[in-house]
């Protein structure tokens, strides 16, 4: 019976840890401008993940104030953002999150 309980406990730990795949290992960076690659674009959540040049994964939830810009500075739209595309992001650090000010599409 003790072995059964131990087995169940270990099984539950494995089950709980396997459920955690959704949460990515993201970093909150200082306010500033960074270049990086769009690793994921979630249109439904209006959310992007950017892998910066210094290998940090930044999660950004767009607000009404967030601007999407083309390479020559013209206003663009969220649906122009494509995965694996190169971007320049300007973010502000607020609490334990990054708020996107602008996302410039570089290619």
């Amino acid at each position: 019976m003790n072995k059964l309980i131990l087995g169940l406990l270990v099984g539950c730990v494995f089950f709980l840890s396997s459920c955690g795949g959704e949460n990515k290992n993201t970093t909150v960076v200082d306010s500033g401008t960074y270049t990086g690659i769009l690793q994921e674009v979630d249109a439904a959540e209006q959310e992007i993940y950017v892998k910066t040049a210094n290998d940090k994964l930044v999660e950004l939830y767009f607000t009404e104030q967030t601007k999407v810009l083309t390479n020559n500075g013209e206003t663009s739209a969220f649906n122009e953002l494509k995965e694996n595309g190169k971007v320049e992001i300007t973010v502000e650090k607020k609490g334990n999150k990054n708020v996107p000010i602008s996302v410039k599409i570089l290619n």
Binding site: L4, I5, C12, Y61, K94, G95, N96
Partner: protein, 167 residues
């Protein structure tokens, strides 16, 4: 200019409206499962067993509704709060806890259709899951409380002079 009091029916408030029923019923199902261990009287034991099943069924169904309303609230609140990590952790624990409760419900129902020799093992297994899920439920609730009472998720901050409430 006088600020306007926001609607009480705004989308992010469907979650607190729907989440308390599953919290109460799932908590009661786990509590009844623990009580069932010590109850010896056959009549009381039957009552407690039926309580577990009823509370678990109501809790799991209403729990998935609360998950849906939680997803709606997530989209709005993740942009407003200061530490979204707490919200993501709350979401993760909510899913995990409800999956465990759902499995426990499935096992409870399955005991009515399988051989007696297996039903004893399944009863022990579902009891174990109900205990583990109670810990998950408590931690999910703790994170939810942290979101509301420390970060103000879903809440409205009245103006300094409360002018919008003047009658």
């Amino acid at each position: 200019m006088v600020a306007e009091i926001p609607s009480i029916w705004r989308e992010e408030l469907w979650h607190p409206l729907s989440v308390h029923l599953p919290i109460a019923t799932l908590f009661l199902s786990s509590l009844a499962a623990i009580i069932a261990i010590v109850v010896k009287n056959k009549v009381y034991k039957l009552f407690v067993q039926q309580t577990i099943l009823a509370m678990l069924a109501i809790g799991v169904i209403s729990g998935w509704i609360a998950i849906y309303t939680g997803e709606l609230a997530y989209t709005i609140e993740v942009r407003k709060i200061c530490d979204p990590e707490v919200l993501q952790e709350h979401q993760w624990w909510a899913y995990t806890t409800l999956i465990v409760y759902s499995v426990a419900l499935g096992l409870k129902i399955s005991t009515k259709f399988i051989a007696v020799k297996f039903s004893n093992i399944i009863k022990h297994l579902s009891l174990f899951l109900l205990f583990v899920a109670l810990l998950g439920l408590s931690y999910t609730g703790h994170l939810g409380a942290s979101l509301v009472y420390q970060q103000g998720a879903g809440t409205y901050q009245p103006s300094a002079n409360c002018s919008e409430f003047a009658k």
